[in-house]
Symmetry: C2
Subunit: 285 residues, 2 copies
């Protein structure tokens, strides 16, 4: 299945046989003091810097989240979107827990954005799906409901099916839905990762949907997170994760390797380009 | 399915839900000038050094191959085996293209070894399977036949089924067979890797066999082989590769990560131990 999103002039197609899409996660104030302070002061320079850096590192979509205490999301989100779309051309993922802010963002957005998010919760669907339909956006559907994050693969698949139904009932076609299968720290629940892989594979085979997740949640609390994340990312991509939410600079080598191995990188062009970029950035000996 | 092999006193059990087994590949003169010269001079000190280093790096089985021009395999292989079994306790994989050398090795081996290898070729099966049966060994079965390495997953599965039949006819139970699915360089054939993954998954689900492969063949000819191998190793382990032929020192972080993610490493004990070992070896800043 192909999910199409776009920026002012650039279209990105997400699908299992194409190179993995990376949703750059850096424009999000959660846990980022400096970005929080800048946003509170109405200063978008940090957002701009992150946007340019993530694109340079290989992000194919940029998450845009300015939600933090002391910031008026409804006013700030469209401002951030306008600024980012002035400097970069790739599609954005408009990200807010606030439906009014999402709508304000959708109003100014040029192209077809991704919106983060709906879930299995009815109330959220009812607020947000009409906006997705009206503005012709694509949407992230979190595989969780009023009972929280599911503990098994089966529950994830079940909630996903309900989200697909709700979307189609609201006139949003399933190719405009990207499921977030909700991966969490392996330290919290040792068999959780395997459940996520099983859910990815099952949803891909049964429903053919595109899928996303935070690519580094898994390693929270463990040492040498990069090595652990890299193994995880390879498995996730093979199983069906087509759009990973991540710091593009950190995950690029693992993603390029996985795409090459899976036959999505003709003549290893992207892999070799990534290698040249990495080695060019190394200090000369 | 559980494949059991053993050294003088140590047993190793290979199965999909246990930590991945690493068959240390360094005792093999192919492409190793220094080892070739030593073996020609009847000097086993390089073999000894490699054996100790591979065990220290985390190998769970050691491949033992002394086949090189100018060396009498039938005389040298049992000598090497006796020497290695004097210094390390883990099981060996007795590796030679020469049936007489395999038999000479089997005669002196203490425990239950793995033998490399049979394949889909009838002649090879007829020479070697009676030895496997007689000495109660386990055996590697290469998923290739007189027509060479198969081009598709289906052919690999087909040949595997024929090897299982030949084994059982010869009185070798299928749990004593480990299939080498034959991975080769991605540069040579871009879709080969995906075929290998499909073969692993299919053989695991249909036959439940343990499987092996050279874990780094895939990246031959590419730059930054380690990054590419790590992504590949994660996918291979998830798909069903339970015993990887590799340089233990190089693949350990990727293997420990994959095992942790797949729920085979309780309390992350092996992952954390591997991390401490790696960081202890780093030069102090």
């Amino acid at each position: 299945m192909e999910t199409k999103v776009s920026g002012p002039t650039k279209e990105v197609i997400i699908s299992y046989d194409r190179p993995t899409c990376i949703i750059g996660e850096r424009i999000n104030p959660t846990g980022k003091k400096k970005l929080q302070e800048a946003l509170k002061a109405g200063d978008l320079s940090v957002v701009k810097k992150e946007a340019l850096e993530q694109v340079a590192a290989g992000a194919t979509i940029l998450d845009c989240n300015v939600n933090t205490q002391g910031v008026d999301d409804v006013k700030m989100l469209p401002e951030a979107i306008k600024m980012i779309q002035d400097v970069v051309d790739i599609p954005l993922c408009i990200d807010s827990p606030n439906a009014a802010a999402l709508e304000a963002g959708l109003k100014v957005y040029k192209g077809k954005p991704l919106v983060n998010s709906i879930s299995g919760e009815k109330a959220k669907q009812e607020r947000i799906l009409p906006l997705i339909k009206h503005y012709g956006a694509a949407v992230v559907g979190l595989a969780q409901d009023d009972n929280g994050i599911p503990k098994t693969a089966e529950r994830r698949v079940e909630i996903t099916k309900r989200i697909v139904e709700a979307c189609e009932k609201a006139g949003v076609p399933r190719e405009d839905l990207i499921i977030d299968v909700m991966a969490y720290a392996i330290g919290a629940e040792p068999k959780a990762a395997k459940d996520v892989l099983n859910a990815l594979r099952q949803i891909r085979l049964e429903l053919g949907l595109n899928m996303t997740m935070g690519a580094s949640n898994i390693s929270f609390g463990m040492p040498d997170r990069m090595i652990l994340n890299n193994a995880w990312i390879a498995m996730v991509i093979e199983a069906g994760g087509t759009a990973l939410i991540a710091d593009a600079a950190k995950v690029m080598p693992a993603v390029l390797s996985a795409d090459l191995v899976l036959g999505r990188d003709r003549f290893a062009r992207k892999y070799l380009e990534g290698y040249r970029k990495r080695t060019a950035e190394l200090p000369k000996k």
